[in-house]
Symmetry: C2
Subunit: 110 residues, 2 copies
DNA sequence: AATAATTCTAACTTTTTAGTGAGTACCTAA
DNA sequence: TTAGGTACTCACTAAAAAGTTAGAATTATT
């Protein structure tokens, strides 16, 4: 269920680039962080804004991001349920990475 | 053999973040770019500096980086063979991404 | 004649990641 | 009473990425 952040004995487990990639290089991870951005976002909103993602992946990624403290989650005890997601301090620090990737892609790839 | 840079009809193929990730999110990709850095590096040197990588992955990644014009390759017609790799202009532009990831990892993860 | 060094290639297996499709519980509105 | 909206969970499958092992061509060295 959660992302393992696996390391491999053969290469440096403490490599900061590796560590960041282990956390962020999933197919949907940065998209989700970017969509949440500086807002407070409900699950359903995310489902709509991260186009193409399956519910399984969305929840799986959200859970892993919460576990890794990039995202915080607030559950309202209501029916029908309401759950809000937000970037933590740590999560906000990933936004410059997204920017950098976006800039590179925009200038050179797309 | 080469990385497909696959897209999925369901989500925006023109998303610059996706495009960058498709190119760079491989397990070894950024490591290789970082090791080449501003130098001219032989295959064997890379093999030693990117610790843990298999030859298959190294060549596979190098080929895909050359195909995608992030890396240039110079073959010397010698025996035993000598091949040098270098970052292109485009390849050099990925170094800030590595820096950003390194910084994030260093400050928050490692 | 055998060994080592160079840069790869190719076939195959395993592991990891992502996708699919169904179902749950509760309430509201038609 | 049926359908729709909420936020999920679960079992299974498929696809992608990475790992393993072996070997090739050439020359110099031992």
């Amino acid at each position: 269920m959660e992302k393992k952040l696996k390391t491999h004995p053969a290469y440096d487990e403490r490599c900061p680039v590796r560590a960041s990639l282990a956390l962020l290089s999933g197919k949907w991870t940065l998209m989700i962080l970017f969509q949440i951005n500086k807002n407070t976002v409900r699950y359903g909103e995310l489902k709509r804004s991260v186009t193409g993602i399956s519910e399984k992946m969305l929840i799986q990624e959200l859970n892993m991001l919460v576990e890794n403290k990039l995202v915080s989650k607030k559950v309202y005890p209501q029916i029908p349920p309401k759950v809000e997601y937000q970037l933590t301090e740590l999560g906000l620090k990933t936004l410059p990475i997204v920017d950098q990737l976006a800039e590179f892609g925009l200038e050179n790839l797309v």
